[in-house]
Amino acid sequence: MRSRRPAVFLPSKLNNVTGTIETLYRAATRLSIALMVMGAAIVLVQTFWISYGVFMRYIMNDPDRYVTEATALLLVPVAFAGLGYALMTDAYPKVTLLTERFSRRKQQFIEIINLGVMIFVGLFFGLSACSATWRSFSSGAASEVLSWPKVYFWAPVALALIGFNLYAILKLVKLLIAYGRDRSGRD
């Protein structure tokens, strides 16, 4: 999808900034979709692997010793892979009974505040996941049975949270520009 050209009345420097933001926004969108696809692929792998595990246990009488820990480890990235995609598709449950009564301008303002809080929470979880990735990488921490390095599972979580924050920050910047443009238009 091509970006919309910035409004003509904006100074050329601001036009460049909005153009850059649009480019980054599209990149963040693609990253969120890519992470969603990765998560979907993992869910399919889990489905087939667990089914195979049950088949081997009962039909072949040769239990798969990897399946339980491996599929449980894979759940860690799945839990966060859809974060950005959920934000893109407005899938987070919210109660809008009160805010629906506000004027459009107040609703825009509340949306900016809410997105700010979401970024604050996302950054905290993101920092925690990045710290976990770094610490598991440097310590070489591994899972108990299979000894798979934990960094393999923390890294996608950190990437998903970075992707979410990137997308949310760019969305916030776009909202702020639209809010400011709206106000200057009214003035």
């Binding site: 869910v43 599929t71 449950p93 809410n114 979880f125």
Partner: protein, 434 residues
Amino acid sequence: MEWYEVGLGLLVLLVILISIGLPIPFALAAASLPFLWGIQDFSTSLISVELKLWGVWFDYILLAVPLFVLLGELIARSNIGPNLYAVMHRGVPIPGSAAYGSIGACAGFGAVCGSSMVGALTIGGVALPEMLKLGYGKKLSSGVLAAGGTLSVLIPPSLILLFYGIVTDVSIGELFIAGAVPGLILVSLFVVVVIAWSYAKPEDIPRVDESGRLTLFQILSSIVPVIIIGSVITVAIYTGIATPTEAAAIAAFITIALAFTVGGLTWSGFADALKATLRTMGYLGLLLSAGVLFGFVLTYYRVPQQFTEVFLALELSPYMILAMVIAFYVIVGMFLEPVSMTFITLPTLYPLIAASGYDLIWFGVVYTITMEIAVLTPPVGLNLYVIQGLAPGQVRIDDVVLGCLPFIGALVCLIGLILVFPDLALWLPSAMAR
């Protein structure tokens, strides 16, 4: 800080954040963080969150969540649900067959899908236009379908029971099995509501259903997939052959095969089902992670324990406590959707229920029924809006709300029955344990 200051502080912050439209997972986390930083410094809290996230998500039991979500989404995008509805009413020579067929199809769909909204959307998407075309009353048509969707969360598998089991640490297999008999009783109660409706307002139910009967092949190809998928889940869990996670994976695997071969699932539908699964996991992932933080803060300050002690000191009868808890959920359920409600309220309330002497499996069934009432009560009754959204030009939201009232009455009756005869919920799990 005293426990009641923390409890009240969390409550006030949550109410403010949720009221301004902040998505619930973020509200839960944002309300918890100031109190978390009151316990730990920032760098310790980062490590603490890391340990908690790993602890909660590196969990084979929790793996059932994405698998059951995928299962429901696959069924929703195939023709399995609509075909089931067609078999249940076409050519059945009984007045009101489409209404009874809707209940039957919702029950059958409930045996393969654990989400109330997906149930209402899938069966309602086919049944509502057809019922309106056949001349059924708007209130009956919309009410039976909005209420019918709730069968999905009582008849196993059930996402609400799954989350309840995760929060209360009760066997998910036993919870699923406990929901089976009450689910079947609810189907019967819904049928009784339609029969009563046909006497009270005969003009809402057309006398003759002239649609032709389906061929034997069409009937078999519609019913057999549901029987296979439903049996895999229920029998595998009941007999102990498989854990709920394994049952979910096998059922999802079989559903993929059946949906492509006899269910008319397309590749684009398959991709949409996967996208919808990850979209749901996106919010569930954060909701559960935020719920763990919230739970940690509550537990650190001993809020659930102190809350329970205060209530027990009042020496209220267990029935009074149960009535208050149910009333609380019905009221809160008007404003919050069930999954969020589970993670926000249950960690504080279930110790009180356990301390009052109630079996947590039994309460799980009662809790799920109150959640069913929650999705049928305005202003935030999810199923009401799902059904109204299926025929926005023909059905008004007040038609759906009024149409649901008798079915809400049936749900209240079911709570009463389970209260008087607890074995309705406990007999199957105890037989399973033997």
